[in-house]
């Protein structure tokens, strides 16, 4: 079994073992599940030394699954999926540890669904066979629905069902598109059926068909991102979801949408993508600005963070649809950075929610005095989220804006307002929650971060700062893969990428390979 298969099936095996454990043994289940997630992260680190980053699919595994229908078991990792996989495995132990006390009922079921979710997400990032991808794509939906529906807030059922229906409509239409695409590919390849990503690439599909197929794929991915106006499930899901589910949802699951665009929708339907690009770019900008404006008026911290996610994912989308390597790299980097900041923010909100059982901004105020350590952490993460230079958020947003400028200065100008709004609503919220006089007696008694909470948040904060000052390792490994993916999407003039060395000086663009 190859490394990638191990990554996918380790959590599944863990989930099945959890299922067999006695439900009362909370401690044992927690320790075991946490060990599985830690092992998963350790295992995923083995990807790094051997990774070349030449734009091809590495660590590839290929086997026949259902030969008669050309369904294969094909896995591979490139610069695009590598960091998403690492992000997933990095968050897995952290988020699990954060839920150590907050999930005190039905620990067994929680751990089962949590581990199953890891399998679904890793599988979706690593699958290179459309059928396999679809299976994992659906597989990760179910555990999330349960996580929201069982451990969620008062309107959990509504939120879970809405999340499920939204995603299902999109993904089922994608299934039809996949079937049609495979049929078309079989016609080109002389009747040989194949769901393999590389076999369905580069088909000269007539434009009218391409538009429909792209629309089906785009709908499935746009719901996940989510792009305005398909975003309405997200605030509901986040507000009702328990803290760990929120963190995973924002940290990893939302990236499925943007990943899907870059991996599948763009290279498979180049003509349609170019035709639809202005529309999608505009929708991305609307997402950025609209979500930022809505975030500004929220009185619930979690809802505010949820809307900020929509806004940031809009940046990632815009980056991809600038059709420049810089922009797409920026989009990818925004995804990673947002994965860290959003997960951290949701966990931080969870910390005070556990103490006060309220998320209303008005209920807090001045807690910087009572919880100095917590407040420091929150501030660092906030600065990372709003893109302060030297923090991870800055690199992504900056590259996206650079790419957008090359495509259309108008886009860049409009998106840049989103950055400003982002700073406004986040800092305004921070001011109201942390500074000023302590308004409520309950806030005076709040204890600062416990050791466990500190250990949970430290890697996230460290990651945010580290990626901000030293983004080069990521950008370098992404570059070729992003460029190749754009090339498949029919971007002929590949722009020279901008990279950063550790000290922040620009280095000369590497000559394009192909």
């Amino acid at each position: 079994m190859g490394l990638l298969s191990q990554l996918i099936f380790l959590p599944l095996a863990g989930a099945l073992i959890v299922l067999a454990m006695p439900g009362k043994a909370h401690k044992a289940i927690r320790v075991f599940s946490f060990a599985v997630t830690l092992l998963l992260f350790a295992l995923s680190l083995r990807l790094l030394p051997g990774f070349v980053g030449d734009g091809s699919f590495e660590f590839a595994e290929k086997a026949i699954w259902i030969g008669a229908f050309g369904i294969g078991y094909h896995l591979g990792v490139d610069g695009i999926s590598l960091f998403l996989v690492l992000l997933t495995t990095f968050l897995a132990p952290i988020v699990y540890l954060s839920a150590w006390n907050s999930i005190d009922a039905r620990v067994k079921e929680f751990s089962f669904f949590y581990l199953l979710l890891q399998t679904g997400m890793l599988g979706a990032f690593l699958a290179l066979d459309l059928f396999l991808f679809y299976v994992f794509w659906e597989l990760m939906l179910i555990p999330m629905v349960f996580l929201i529906g069982i451990w969620g807030g008062p309107r959990k059922v509504y939120a879970a069902v809405k999340f499920m229906i939204y995603t299902m409509i999109g993904s089922l239409l994608m299934l039809v598109a996949i079937l049609f695409l495979v049929k078309y590919a079989a016609g080109v390849h002389g009747g040989r059926l194949s769901f393999d990503f590389q076999d369905v690439l580069g088909l000269a599909i007539p434009f009218d068909r391409q538009i429909l197929l792209f629309a089906a794929f785009a709908l499935a991915f746009a719901v996940k991102v989510p792009v305005f106006p398909l975003h309405t499930w997200l605030p509901d899901a986040h507000v009702e979801a328990p803290t760990p589910a929120s963190a995973i949802l924002a940290g990893v699951l939302l990236k499925m949408g943007t990943y899907g665009f870059l991996r599948f929708a763009m290279p498979l339907f180049p003509d349609a993508v170019h035709y639809a690009a202005p529309l999608i770019a505009v929708l991305a900008i609307v997402s950025i600005v609209y979500a930022a404006l809505v975030a500004m008026v929220q009185d619930d911290i979690k809802k505010l963070v949820a809307y900020s996610s929509i806004s940031h994912l809009g940046f990632a989308m815009l980056g991809l649809f600038t059709f420049t390597v810089v922009g797409a790299q920026g989009g990818m980097f925004t995804m990673i950075s947002h994965g860290l900041t959003a997960a951290a923010l949701f966990l931080l909100v969870g910390v005070i929610y556990e103490r006060r059982h309220t998320r209303k901004i008005a209920d807090y105020g001045g807690i910087a005095r009572t919880m100095p350590l917590y407040s420091t952490m929150f501030l660092i993460v906030t600065l990372g989220a709003i893109g302060l230079p030297g923090m991870s958020g800055f690199v992504g947003e900056f590259l996206v804006l650079v790419g957008a400028f090359r495509t259309s200065p108008l886009y860049a100008a409009a998106a840049a307002t989103g950055v400003i709004f982002g700073a406004v609503y986040m800092l305004w919220m921070v001011r109201r929650v942390f500074f000023g006089p302590v308004t409520s007696e309950a806030n005076r008694k709040m204890s600062d971060l416990s050791l466990r909470e500190f250990v949970v948040l430290l890697p996230l904060v460290a990651g945010i700062v580290l990626l901000g000052v030293h983004p080069a390792p990521l950008l370098d490994r992404m570059e070729k893969s992003v460029a190749r993916q754009l090339e498949r999407a029919g971007v002929t003039e590949v722009m020279s990428p901008v990279g950063y060395d550790g000290d922040g000086t620009q280095h000369a663009p590497a000559p394009e390979e192909q």
Binding site: A68, E109, V135, V157, V161, I169, L172, V176, K183
Partner: protein, 494 residues
């Protein structure tokens, strides 16, 4: 020249049917002596029939007796196997229900065997007379079984409704058969050619109508919710699965004969105007089934409407489009449908109680049961997700086969309608899951923990997931192996 008395071929072809009919007689007779072992006796005959059926799966060439009166080929063997599996599930899950009601009579099991013998005959004939005979043989025991709960007036209502409407549809089928015979001068559907086109088309349509009634396709679906709801739950489960398998199996055989343009059934499949009817039927059936299921609070009625919707998906496979009828897709889907529907009904049986003679099967009382009875909860979730077509279950794979086949035959718009329907269905399939896991209650509820119910649902869960995603592992058959069997069964058709 006298025909030979009994040949080996004859026996091979007819033995499963004979075993089932003889079993029905013997088990019913045992009822006269008030035997309590009816289920066991019936299972013995059923397993014996299974054993005799199994070699037929490898038949190189079909055996045809008495002018197509009985055909034994890999198709009839595969369908027969599924029917027997459905019967076996019924034999396993019935005793706990009957015992707790003090009604564990051997006749009940005898009737199941009689009905099964009719179904096995139904899927292995091309002769109109035998077809009608088999239809009655499979239906009449089901009419009786629907009314088996004598204390429950809804059960009586179900039996009467099913009997009246069923007889009506049988008469329509018989009328169609008469017209076909009048037009073509033969009762062997394989040999039918030419004839007066109007008469032949009308005959073919009337025969099709009889089938549509049995599969509960719109607009002949009205009986299904009431009958499914009123009948004892094990019988609901049995008829929801086996009747669908039998009707679609027989239709596959009949439609596959329509290769020659002169065959009356070719008018339905490829005729200029007539060919538009099947797509509309499919769309109406799946849409109505799903839309009506949305508002059901009684889980048996919900599953009844869902079975209507599944008939709609299956009809998709019967539309030839630019190719031929999709036998493979239909067979795989039927297999999945058999497991997931039986499984879902088994869980319903475990959770049903009786209140003043009435069976109570509302879902709402079982809030939080998923945590108190983990296995039951997981099993139900798997069945419902499979019904909704979510991977990695056989329900998803069957749907994939049907939809992909339809796309290949140029029916993409229909497939889009079908997937939108599937998305709609997620809403109501999710509801029991929501109740089981996402609502809490402290009200104690009674759950039937009978071993046989657990065994049946465990088997269904394992098979559903097994044939939903696993490749062949060593000598263990997985999805490719099942695909191979389905393919070879389909290849037995002309």
């Amino acid at each position: 020249m006298n025909p030979p008395l009994v040949t080996g071929d004859m026996l091979r072809a007819a033995i499963p049917f004979i075993l089932l009919a003889a079993g029905g007689t013997v088990v019913s007779l045992a009822g006269a002596w008030r035997s309590k072992r009816g289920a066991l006796f019936a299972a013995l005959f059923l397993v014996l029939a299974f054993w005799k059926l199994f070699p037929l799966l490898d038949l190189e060439k079909g055996i045809e007796l008495w002018d197509g009166a009985v055909v034994a080929d890999r198709m009839s063997a595969f369908l027969g196997g599924m029917l027997l599996l459905s019967g076996l599930f019924a034999l396993i899950v019935s005793p706990p229900v009957l015992r707790r009601e003090g009604r564990n009579r051997a006749e009940y099991y005898g009737l199941i065997l009689f009905s099964l013998s009719g179904m096995v005959l139904f899927v292995s004939t091309t002769n109109l007379l035998v077809l009608f005979l088999a239809l009655e043989l499979m239906s009449i025991p089901l009419y009786v079984l629907s009314g088996y709960n004598r204390g429950d007036d809804r059960s009586g209502e179900a039996a009467l409704k099913y009997f009246l409407l069923g007889s009506f549809s049988s008469a329509i089928l018989l009328y169609g058969a008469a017209l076909l015979f009048g037009a073509t001068g033969t009762i062997n559907m394989a040999a039918m050619t030419g004839g007066d086109p109007l008469l032949a088309t009308a005959g073919a349509f009337l025969v099709l109508t009889g089938f549509l009634f049995k599969m509960a396709a719109v607009p002949f679906h009205m009986w299904a919710p009431d009958v499914y709801d009123g009948a004892p739950t094990p019988i609901t489960s049995f008829m929801a699965t086996s009747v669908k398998i039998a009707t679609f199996g027989a239709l596959l055989r009949i439609f596959s004969l329509a290769g020659g343009a002169a065959n009356p059934f070719a008018h339905i499949l490829t005729g200029e105007n007539a060919a538009k009817i099947l797509p509309w039927l499919a769309v109406m059936t799946m849409t109505l089934g799903n839309v009506c299921a949305l508002t059901q609070t009684n889980i048996k009625r919900m599953l009844a409407y869902s079975s209507i919707a599944h008939a709609g998906y299956l009809l998709l496979g019967l539309i030839p489009g630019s190719g031929a009828v999709d036998a493979k897709g239909i067979l795989y889907y039927l297999f999945a449908y058999l497991l997931m529907t039986t499984g879902a009904f088994t869980v319903v049986i475990a959770l049903s109680t009786r209140d003043k003679g009435r069976e109570v099967t509302g879902v709402e009382r079982y809030a939080g049961i998923g945590f108190r009875r983990p296995f039951l909860g997981i099993a139900m979730a798997v069945f419902l997700f499979s019904l909704a077509g979510i991977p990695p279950t056989a329900g998803f794979f069957g749907k994939y086969l049907l939809f992909s086949g339809a796309v290949h035959r140029g029916l993409t718009p229909l497939v889009v309608v079908a997937v939108l329907n599937s998305a709609l269905s997620v809403y109501y399939y999710l509801r029991p899951v929501v109740v089981f896991y996402m609502r809490d209650t402290d009200t104690p509820v009674r759950v039937d923990d009978a071993l046989s119910l657990r065994v049946a649902s465990l088997a269904a869960v394992v098979l559903l997931i097994w044939f939903g995603c696993l490749p062949n592992i060593g000598s263990l058959p997985g999805v490719p192996a099942l695909l191979h069997w389905v393919g070879s069964a389909a290849a037995a058709l002309p």
